[in-house]
Amino acid sequence: MLLVLEQALNGLQYGVMLFLMAAGLTLVFGIMNLVNLAHGSLYMVGAYLATALARWTGSFVLGGLLALPATLLVGVVVEVVALRTLYERDHLDQVLATFGLILFFNELVAIVWGRAAIYTSLPPSLSGSFMLLPGLRYPTYRALVIGVGVAAAVFLYVLVTSTRLGMLIRAGASNRTMVAALGVNIRWLYTLVFGLGAALAGLAGLMAGPIYAVQPGMGEQILIQVFVVIIIGGIGSIRGAVAGALVVGMVDTLGRAFLRPTLSTIVSPAAADKAGPALASMLIYLMMAAVLFFRPQGLFPTRGR
């Protein structure tokens, strides 16, 4: 039973990470109607900047705090320089251009920091594990990731539901033309939303740094799951991103942990050994296919489209 609880925590932690990525991606897609494949690159940039700044300042926390505005700045520059011209183009052009950005950022990072994975470390206070319940030890850093992720989700919720900016974001997701017609500077709103999305991706990246290998191309490994999340949740919807991320995080983690043992009680252990890992890695895609079939607009679609 404790093991199920522990795996649920793992699923929550993975879901939180996916949410931070998905929130930015879904906002940009929903409001700006822009397919941004380079979202994973911003995640990578966040991880690299946090690692470099932590080394420079000598403090893990300070590095993280500085990396956030730095990634936001990178996002704003990318939007102003490259993406602004793409809003009126069709999705295929956007996919091509942002794929180009992926290559650009991967090479840039390889030139600046080298092709090898770089060394990331945690302060001793975060690197161990602690007793969560009797008999259940949990890595301190993973617990911190859950905490920060939930805080970011709450912040986003408040921002979107109870501020003027949030109102504009929601309005932009529902009907862009009307927002522009009401005299809102839509260009300014776009830059802001993209910067916010970049900062969230950067936050996911800087938290991923100490757990994953920080190296060129790390963004593409998580990007596919993030797309699954926003398709399941409903494109453009923050609520959908929360739900989708948690569902994908839980299903993937629990599937990896328990599918094979469960299967072996139904079919022969040998068959379970063969089918288990393959099926576990397919689960989230099967789920996405089911959502697309029964509810193509996603679980929590934005209204008015």
Partner: protein, 405 residues
């Protein structure tokens, strides 16, 4: 434009072949022949140059270039043309790259390849055209057994061999209740079956994870719950960095030791450092292996590139040296494929692992060592040979290979 140039080259090649045949016919009756032609040796080198495995590709490419430096930019006395190809760690892309090398560049040798699934897609395409495939990493069991070919050689190992050495060492230590894990692809399966061939103790669970999976926390929680005496893993490249880091953060490092193959090496160690200190690996090569060729390779590599080479590099360096020995033996007559096969079977070159022999399936019969991560006096982290586990170890599949020589 390209097509026309190819056509011209075809015609040129045909004419050249006819002239050469006539000349050779005339000359052989008169005097001993020199090199049959002055054409360049073309070598296509396929590895992963982009994506997360790009760093492994860099180790290999840098080593190929160093080998060419050592040979004075000639292979077997002939000029050399190297064409690098990026397989992106995908079998279909690897096959396309190989096709292009064969058809467009008309290479004499294809070399390289990190991943077993890519190798299984590429090797048959190359050997079918009677072009040499010189593997410098992946050693899937199919190519060592029933699918062996006289045009396939490798300077590395058969996948099962290295985990066999670790299985033997762990069995000798009297360990039992071991939890074993690998990514779910061709090599992962070979690695675990090799381990089980020599490890006779109890295996708690055999777990396969997704290739390039970044997060192992779910699996690590399962390990903690199963509470085995030891863990054995095969996680090459970035997968290894992620697994080992996360295992340490989960606080399991002090409780359940991890033994591994191809997980902690000169590619991953700079990113792991103390998270890998004291860990055990088995391998056929190490930078501290003491022989003339290896000392030269390692010191010149460090001098030229400023980092420590890995086994991926040593194998690729050896690959070029093996090709050099073959071309030298036939005095540059690249049409004499039988002669080159005979030459390569002798492994007559200065290998970085020291002298070795080829088995009937063209896989090396070589030593395997136990390695440990240590901290060197200057504060760096390095792999060091502790002892020899197997001497002149043969792979388990050679008897399924029909070649006789």
């Amino acid at each position: 434009m390209l097509a026309r140039r190819d056509g011209e080259r075809d015609l040129e090649d045909t004419v050249r072949t006819i002239i050469r045949a006539v000349l050779v016919g005339l000359l052989t009756s008169l005097v001993a022949v020199g090199p049959a032609s002055a054409e360049a040796v073309k070598i296509g080198f396929i590895t992963s140059l982009s994506g997360p495995a790009g760093i492994i590709g860099k180790h290999m490419k840098d080593s190929v270039e160093l080998a060419l430096d050592h040979l004075g930019r000639k292979v077997g006395g002939l000029d050399v043309e190297l064409i690098y190809g990026d397989d992106q760690q995908k079998p279909d892309v690897g096959k396309q790259v190989a096709d292009e090398m064969l058809k467009k560049h008309k290479v004499h040798f294809v070399s390289g390849i990190i991943w077993s699934n890519v190798m299984l897609a590429v090797a048959p395409v190359v050997t079918r055209e009677k072009v040499f495939m010189i593997g410098t990493n992946a050693g899937p069991h199919q190519l060592a057994g029933k699918d062996c070919s006289e045009y396939f050689f490798t300077t590395s190992w058969q996948n099962d061999q290295t985990p066999e050495a670790m299985g033997k060492y762990m069995a000798d230590q009297g360990l039992t209740d071991v939890y074993i894990m690998a990514p779910n692809y061709a090599a992962g399966k070979d690695m675990l079956s090799g381990f089980k061939r020599y490890f006779k103790g109890r295996i708690v669970a055999e777990v396969y994870t997704q290739v390039n999976q970044p997060d192992y926390q779910a699996e690590i929680s399962q390990i903690r719950a199963a509470n085995p005496k030891a863990v054995f893993v095969f996680y090459p490249g970035a997968m290894g960095i992620q697994f080992v880091k996360q295992y340490a953060q989960a606080g399991l490092r002090e409780q359940i030791p991890v033994y591994s193959v191809y997980t902690i090496d000169e590619v991953t160690l700079p990113a792991l450092k103390e998270a890998a200190l004291g860990n055990w690996e088995t391998r056929y090569w190490s930078p501290d292996l003491n022989n003339e060729a290896n000392t030269k390779y390692v010191s010149d590599f460090r001098k030229k590139y400023g980092y420590t080479p890995s086994f991926y590099g040593a194998q690729s360096y050896d690959g070029i040296m093996l090709i050099d020995s073959a071309v030298r033996a036939v005095r540059g007559d690249l049409a004499n494929k039988a002669g080159m096969i005979t030459a390569m079977r002798k492994a007559d070159y200065k290998s970085t692992r020291g002298p070795y022999k080829y088995n009937v399936n063209h896989f090396p019969i070589e030593n395997f060592y136990l390695l440990r991560t240590v901290r060197t006096p200057d504060g760096e982290f390095a792999m060091q040979i502790q002892k020899t586990v197997f001497e002149s170890h043969k792979d388990a599949y050679a008897k399924e290979c029909g070649m006789k020589w």
